[in-house]
């Protein structure tokens, strides 16, 4: 019930944005900024690019406010835009190696922060190695499978929402996810 209310609230906020209420846009941004950036980061595995793409997502939402009709769930629409931008970016940069390595410094010279509360250096190194393995496992998935897994696992989206975001049928998404998790199981089963 709470989730349904939240979805209705999103649509309601967007309708208010359409009517010129900028506060509602700020609320929508506050609610969806982090999930969209995190999704895009996991898709492109590059923080500045993820934030740049997220800016474009919200800019497109703002530009489309006049024509917005609450026919689909707002989150589905939002992730559809985000997925479209991420897939385009991946397609355009396929030949380039843009993935940042974990030991690479961020562009502003600050070392990458990894949320790891364990003080043990050995454990920390192990954690970093495992994280790298997870990132590589996700990166080796075909772009559409990657998007579907990220929406399923991290955004908690339903099959119908993922299907709408990726412009596929629900059954196609189920088999896409099955194949993706099958590949991940083969690579990450030893994490138990």
């Amino acid at each position: 019930m709470e989730a349904v209310a939240a979805l209705e609230r999103d649509a309601e906020l967007m309708v208010r944005v359409r009517e010129g209420d900028s506060t509602s846009f700020a609320l929508l941004l506050e609610r969806h900024r982090a999930p969209v950036i995190h999704f895009l980061f996991r898709m492109v595995q590059n923080q500045p690019v993820a934030e740049e793409l997220a800016q474009e997502v919200f800019l497109r939402v703002y530009r489309s406010r006049a024509t917005y009709e609450p026919t689909a769930k707002f989150t589905t629409w939002l992730f559809r835009i985000a997925t479209h931008l991420a897939l385009n970016w991946i397609r355009d940069r396929k030949s380039e190696k843009t993935q940042e390595s974990l030991d690479q410094d961020t562009p502003d010279g600050i070392a990458r922060q990894i949320s790891d509360r364990r003080p043990n250096v050995e454990q920390r190194l192990l954690y970093e190695a495992r994280l790298l393995e997870v990132r590589q496992a996700i990166e080796t998935l075909p772009a559409k499978q990657r998007a579907a897994v990220l929406m399923h696992k991290y955004a908690g989206m339903e099959y119908s929402q993922i299907a709408a975001s990726l412009n596929c049928s629900e059954s196609a998404i189920k088999s896409l996810l099955f194949r993706a998790y099958e590949a991940l199981r083969a690579r990450l089963a030893h994490f138990a």
């Binding site: 934030e51 800016q55 919200f58 800019l59 994280l131 997870v134 991940l184 089963a189 994490f191």
Partner: protein
Amino acid sequence: MDCPIQTSHTAGVILDYCAGRLVPDRAAAIEAHARLCPSCGEMIEAQRSVWKALDSWSVNPPSGDFDCKLYTRIDEEERSSSALEKWVCSIVARWSPFSWRAPVAVAAVCAMVALAILIDIPGAPRVVPPTEPQARTEHVDIEQVERTLDDMNMLRQFAPVLQPSDLASSSSM
């Protein structure tokens, strides 16, 4: 219960079970089945490992100036669109006493330019005007000429029968 890993479609139930998206009754049925079915048990274990691995992938929070950058871009867009709007308004304002004439004049000029382009496209096949004799043959219908001659013959045959008064009355009609 049937083994869910027979097809990719039904195996989705195991994904949902590991994701904690099943209602308690359905989850209990899967657990009971997994205890008896080694393949499903293995798949559940492997899927749980994947889930655990994915859970360990934490990400950085968005940068502090994200909103600021976004609002700057929105402002820039709005300013540029309002500048365009102002420019259009200033053009229209110049024509304010004859506001209806401006669009009409612009449309007329556009139509003339389009017509000129259509007529004078280099390399486009030109329509050659027909020469004089061709034009004539196109306009003269042989059947019509024959019909007219027949009518004249018929009138000639009736001419002696008709009185001058009849001719006068028919011409007055």
